[in-house]
């Protein structure tokens, strides 16, 4: 009598454990699927955003660049002792338009914002990939480690690939040119 009760308890606990591990695998799979969609979502955001940002910043920069060039031209003439009043007035009229539409020349902040936005966007894509990699790693570790591998084998949960990366190739070899520290040329 007592033995059957004990056996029954053990059985119930075992079945409960199998269910929880099974649910882990199934829900992991669903989460991984969702995380892959998130990568797509972020890539789409990037593809929509960056070209638009680029063109609007470009517009800004050409406007300011033109004015600065005119001013430089005028300065050159002055240093040569020539009359630069025409150049200056041309530059000033251009400047006026810019100042009227924007209180100050802000190429600096515009570029800064663009750089921030660029990093932010690539971070978002990177982190969405990170989530997918982490989730698949958890899933794969659980799949092969004792005792959850019993359940994985019982229900034939396959290994997931995660971010597909070649297991061998150039990215695992350091070439001589990569050993030198990089120089930044501006």
């Amino acid at each position: 009598m007592n033995l059957t009760i004990i056996l029954l308890i053990v059985l119930v606990v075992f079945v409960g454990w199998v269910i929880s591990v099974y649910n882990f695998f199934v829900s992991s799979k669903a989460r991984i699927k969702a995380s892959i969609q998130e990568i797509g979502n972020q890539l789409k955001r990037q593809a929509d955003l960056i070209p638009n940002l680029e063109s609007s910043v470009k517009g800004y920069l050409t406007h300011e660049k033109g004015i600065l060039e005119m001013l430089a031209e005028a300065r050159k003439l002055i240093s040569k002792g020539q009359d630069a009043s025409k150049q200056i007035s041309d530059a000033l009229s251009g400047l006026k338009i810019v100042v009227e539409s924007n209180p100050e020349l802000k190429a600096n902040t515009v570029v800064e914002n663009l750089m921030g936005e660029l990093r932010d966007t690539s971070d978002k894509v990177m982190y969405s990939r990170r989530l997918m990699i982490d989730l698949t790693a958890d899933y794969n570790v659980k799949r092969v480690s004792v005792p959850s591998n019993i359940v994985a084998n019982m229900f034939k949960f396959d290994e997931l690939k995660g971010l597909e990366t070649a297991e061998s190739g150039e990215h695992l070899v350091v070439s001589p040119s990569e050993m030198r520290s990089p120089k930044v040329n501006l």
Partner: protein, 310 residues
């Protein structure tokens, strides 16, 4: 060199051991105090006597503070909702890290204070709040801010606020029981005196008194040890999300180099912050003793563990 998974595994085990120890200790302390109580009053406490009442009192008070923790803490600290335009970096860093950690985006708050610090609260990831001081947002670079916010997100992910609430229910329960026990002894009736010749009763009484004196302190000490362990776990979790220990290291260095105390913090909210907001330091034997009462592990130790990971 320990990799991040080993660090996390060992943290998990240590934290589990301390927490189990805490609950075992609580059960033993409660058992002895209630036994002594029962003996003192001259009758057996029927299953749910003083312990039950103490559990209800401590439970309700903590449950309220747990359920409304975010609102209470934010109110005490004088935090306001972060403006996405004004605190653009804060918002975008938090959003990106949530993508990486697979968490819903928490509510973001800021405290107007130049002392750099941050904390997380809220009962579960869906009600999580992350709060940073304006000093933190001004003084840290993006990478450093990522480290700090990932630390806070790990607290959210690990349900640390829930764990610490359960622990403080137990601490409150023990403290209440001990307190009532002494009150009963000082002011209560003397029914027990007729049974003073019972030797077993006297022994239980002595053990009960010892537990009533010591267990509130011991329980608090274990509670603080759990709190410190959770900080280590959050540091490791932060590295797991960002994979850049250097960011958190320099952030912690900057935070600890700043000696200005955070005015918005008080004793009740100190354990929530990423670094002890009071910045008091002491060395030697006094330092060791004082370190038992710290809510946070020493900064030097945290940084050296992080450096091993990079």
């Amino acid at each position: 060199m320990q990799n991040i998974y080993e660090v996390q595994q060992s943290n998990k085990i240590k934290s589990g051991v301390i927490t189990t120890l805490f609950f075992l200790f609580s059960v033993i302390a409660i058992y002895f105090i209630s036994q002594a109580f029962g003996y003192y009053n001259g009758y057996e406490v029927g299953g749910f006597g003083y312990v039950g009442v103490a559990l209800i009192v401590s439970g309700i008070s903590t449950f309220v503070s747990y359920y409304y923790s975010d609102k209470i803490v934010l109110k005490i600290s004088g935090a306001r909702v972060a403006n996405t335009k004004e605190h653009k970096l804060f918002a975008s860093v938090a959003e990106n890290l949530c993508i990486g950690a697979g968490l819903p985006k928490p509510k973001l708050y800021v405290i107007e204070d130049s002392a750099p610090n941050a904390f997380a609260t809220g009962r579960d990831p869906d009600h999580a709040v992350i709060c940073a001081t304006t000093g933190l947002l001004d003084k840290l670079t993006r990478t450093e801010l990522e480290g700090v916010i990932a630390h806070e997100l790990t607290h959210v992910k690990n349900y640390d606020i829930r764990l610490m609430s359960i622990v403080s229910v137990m601490v409150g329960l023990i403290a209440l029981l001990g307190d009532w026990f002494f009150r009963a002894r000082l002011f209560g009736g003397g029914r027990s005196r007729s049974r003073d010749d019972n030797q077993l009763g006297a022994i239980i009484m002595v053990i009960g008194i010892i537990f009533a004196i010591l267990s509130p302190i011991i329980a608090t000490l274990i509670q603080l040890a759990i709190s410190r362990r959770r900080e280590f776990m959050a540091d490791a979790g932060s590295v797991q999300i960002t994979r850049q220990p250097q960011g958190l290291i320099t952030a912690l260095e900057k935070i600890s180099a700043d000696h200005e105390p955070l005015e918005a913090a008080n004793k009740a909210t100190a354990h929530l912050y990423i670094a002890n907001p009071f910045k008091d330091k002491s060395d030697g034997a006094v330092g060791w003793f004082a370190s038992l009462f710290n809510t946070h592990p020493p900064m030097v130790e945290r940084i050296s563990i992080l450096q091993k990971m990079s």
